[in-house]
Symmetry: C2
Subunit: 271 residues, 2 copies
């Protein structure tokens, strides 16, 4: 494959941290993108259990050529606590998916999942501005996507979550910024134009669908954050109904592109 | 270049730790050798200051796919203290240059510099058995090389060090194993057949030579551990006198080959 650095003592190191980790694909893609931009850098996977994350980060950050961390499940909230500084959207969701160094060595975090999701659906032909969106899932990914959809100009956003308290808390917080275009949603997609699944429903065989598929119609665009299976039962149902769709893999490709830009924008990889 | 792994979430990670680190060449060579043996593994440099080494190792070892550490200057003694188990030669010198995992996750260390030096001079045509050796330098590298020369069957080993107490302490310890074939040496190589520099003398322009070059004669074999410059003033003088020589780079290639075998012999990279 192409896109490897000239590994040497001068190589800079970025880790992708998760539990499990075997399934991640970012090491090759992000390494290749950094090398294509002229950096001698490599992204390596690090399999770290939740109980070990704090000690792992406290230790590995002692390495002076360790320039960044890509954060995946289940560490996005815990990694936020290691940030000296973070972007407003990271503060809003209290989670990060990428860290880079400030000039004093501390970590600056961002949560790029929401913007990545929006970029992904744009690449698939869906223009979010003006859409009436139903989002299933008010957790970490859902919170980031909700904020990004609102910033991208959706006309209305309804949020559904089986955990009603979590749903209501997110809606309340989003309303402080975006007013009554944010509402409590249900599993019924009728009347919406953009349907997003940000729940785990669909990862396991036999999972219930996150929204009522019998109300999907071909004028809706349906996106899913799940990458395995590549096409979830929700997306299969949407395609059967004639909907345009965006798979989770498309979102993650867009997130990876944003991670590269974030790592290169400031800090030791910027030059 | 060839010899890169298919970087993914399944890639195993080995670090080479030093201060400075930019000069090391092991990442490409050892990675290539591991890949050639069928492992999906990458060796990455980690620039860690002495004061940070303990915290760095305590943290990074939390990663479950972090399988080994190659240790370079100045960390070889400090890294020994992180070993749960170590080889007899590592215990003898109190230092390690490579760590791999035991089945319980603890570290098993070895100090391969001495055997690597001996393999290097063998590859350059010098058979150590029966030689009368003068070794300059009783520090970490010198201690490892002294032990390896004795185990390779030199007839006599004299050790020279400007720090007389350090010289005498090493001689005393080696005599408990190898008796009076080990003696206190001076900077005069007259009468010896194998001359080894394991001091830093020769790294900086203007350094005094570690032995008296005017007594070098063409029947002597002269080896040096220094890799930069590639050919030290001592080796230049030896070549001018007609001696066969071994440069530090040759030693380090031989050490790298032993590191690969050590990492593959047991532990997570063995299969």
């Amino acid at each position: 494959m192409s896109g490897f650095p000239e590994l040497s003592g001068a190589t800079r190191v970025v880790a992708i941290v998760g539990d499990p980790i075997r399934q991640v694909k970012s090491p090759a893609g992000v390494t290749g993108a950094l090398v294509a931009r002229g950096r001698n850098a490599v992204v390596v996977p690090m399999h770290v259990a939740p109980a070990d994350l704090d000690a792992f980060l406290d230790g590995v950050q002692r390495a002076q050529n360790f320039d960044g961390v890509i954060v995946t499940v289940p560490h996005k909230f815990a990694a936020y606590r290691h940030c000296a500084t973070a972007t407003p959207r990271a503060h809003f969701v209290g989670a990060v998916n990428t860290l880079r160094r400030n000039s004093d060595g501390g970590w600056h975090g961002d949560q790029l999942d929401g913007e990545g999701f929006v970029n992904g659906i744009r690449a698939a032909g869906c223009i979010p501005a003006g859409q009436r969106a139903l989002l299933a899932g008010a957790g970490g990914a859902g919170s980031a996507i909700a904020l990004a959809l609102l910033e991208a100009g959706v006309a209305a956003l309804a949020i559904h979550d089986d955990d009603v308290a979590r749903r209501d808390a997110l809606v309340t917080r989003l309303r402080t910024r975006h007013g009554d275009k944010v509402t409590m949603g249900t599993a019924d997609p009728a009347g919406f134009t953009l349907i997003v699944n940000a729940t785990p429903a669909g990862m396991q065989p036999g999972d219930a669908l996150p929204v009522r598929a019998e109300h999907l119609v071909r004028t809706m665009f349906v996106g899913d954050v799940i990458t395995a299976p590549a096409v979830t039962p929700l997306l299969e149902a949407a395609r059967a109904a004639g909907c345009a769709t965006q798979v989770g893999g498309g979102m993650f490709a867009a997130v990876a592109a944003l991670i590269v830009e974030f790592l290169l924008a400031e800090g030791p990889l910027a030059h």
